[in-house]
Symmetry: C3
Subunit: 152 residues, 3 copies
C-alpha cells in the first residue's frame, strides 16, 4: 500500500512539474474534492479555502482555463516531496500524506521557494491503480493562488 501511495504522489508531482495537467487530472475520480487551505486557517478552524474544487468538472474547468489563459508557460515548477505515509482504514479507504516543497523558476532561471506544506489525500483503488477522492493541501506559505494559478 505504501508503495502504491508513494507512486501516486510521485506521479502527482511529476505531472504538475512537466505541465501535463490533463494527465494530472486523470489521477482524480469523478466525485473528487481538491482543496487548498492555509495552515493558519486550518489551525483556527476557519472554513476559508484558497482554492476549492468539489468535483472533477470544476478541476477540468480550471485546467481548461489555465490552458487558454497562459499562452506561454511563464514558470517551471519543481515539486520535491518528502516521505510518504499511508494508512488503510476499516472501510478500506486509504489516507496518505506527505510534506512537500515546491520551487518555481522563472524564465531567467531564477529559482525560489514558492510553497511548503503538507498533502493529505484520501485514495481508493481504481482499475488502473489508486485514484484521488480527496486532496487536501495545507500550505504553510501564505500564497494566495488566484483563479488561474496552477495547482500545488
Amino acid at each position: 500500500m505504501i508503495v502504491d501511495a508513494y507512486g501516486l504522489f510521485e506521479t502527482y508531482g511529476r505531472l504538475l512539474d512537466e505541465d501535463r495537467l490533463e494527465e494530472w487530472l486523470e489521477l482524480f475520480c469523478e466525485a473528487c474534492r481538491y482543496e487548498i487551505v492555509s495552515r493558519e486557517n486550518r489551525c483556527q478552524n476557519l472554513p476559508l479555502s484558497l482554492m476549492l474544487c468539489d468535483n472533477k468538472d470544476m478541476l477540468r474547468d480550471r485546467v481548461h482555463s489555465l490552458r487558454h489563459a497562459n499562452i506561454f508557460n511563464i514558470h517551471f515548477d519543481c515539486h520535491v516531496i518528502g516521505l510518504v505515509r499511508a494508512d488503510v482504514g476499516e472501510d478500506g479507504r486509504i489516507s496518505a500524506g506527505a510534506a512537500y516543497s515546491l520551487f518555481q523558476s522563472n524564465q531567467d532561471g531564477e529559482s525560489r521557494l514558492f510553497s511548503v506544506g503538507r498533502y493529505s489525500f484520501g485514495l481508493r483503488r481504481g482499475e488502473d491503480g489508486l485514484l484521488i477522492e480527496s486532496a487536501l493541501v495545507v500550505v504553510d506559505t501564505g500564497t494566495i493562488p488566484t483563479l488561474l494559478a496552477t495547482p500545488i
Copy 2:
C-alpha cells in the same frame, strides 16, 4: 528494515511539524542521545554541540520548557526529508540516515529555509517498532538553537 526506518523518519518529521512534541519524545528510548552539531565543527573534530541531551529526561525537560515558554506557537515547521538509508550492523543495531530540509513559516505566511543537513540515527527494535537510541543531526546551516529552540 529500510521500510521501518523510512517510517520512523516520516513519523519523526511529521510529529515535529504538527507540534506533537510529546509523541515525538516517545520515538526515543530511555537511554537515548540527541545531539545537534554543525558540519563545520564535525569536520574539524571539535567537540562542541549546538544541542545535547544525553538521556530521555533531558529531552523531556526540553519539551516541557518549550511548552511553558512558547505560549503561542510563533512559527510552523515543515520537514522535507530526502531519501532514507538503513544498514543493519553485526550486533543487530540499525544505522539509518537521511538528508533533510527544514522550512519555517511565520504567522504572516512567509516561508524560509531554516536548516539543511543530515540525520544519522542509531535505532533498535522496541515492542511497537523502531526506537531511537541516538539521533545525531549534522547541520550545514549555522543556526545556533537557543535553549528554547524546537528540535530539528
Copy 3:
C-alpha cells in the same frame, strides 16, 4: 527495482554531499554519459549542455581537477531528493528519475537554494548493483557550472 533505484539515488546524493567524489564516480559504468542541461534549452530542443562528459574518463578528469583546484572545500552540498520513479524497458534497461533540491552552505553557515531540477538516469545491473549508463540532469535553475564546479 524501485528499491534498487531508490538506493542508487540515495547513494548518489550522499556521496556528493560528503565530498566522496571518487566513490561517486564508481556509480558510473565506463561507457557512461553525464550531462547537465537547462530546462529552458531542453524545452526548446537546443543542443547546448551546461556540462557534458560522454565517458567515464572525462568524469575522472573532472573529479581530478576538482581535487587539485579546490584545495579547500569552500562549500557544503546538501541534496534533498524527492520521490523516485523506476521503469524497466523491454530491453531490460531501467529508466529512473527523481526531482531534486540542492542546497549549498558556505563556511559562515549560510545556506541557500543552489539548484532544483530533475534527474533522469539510465541504469543497468552490474555485479554489485545498479550502475549509471546515462545521467541527465535537467536544471530549472539557471546556474552555469564552470569547468571546475562540482557535479549536481
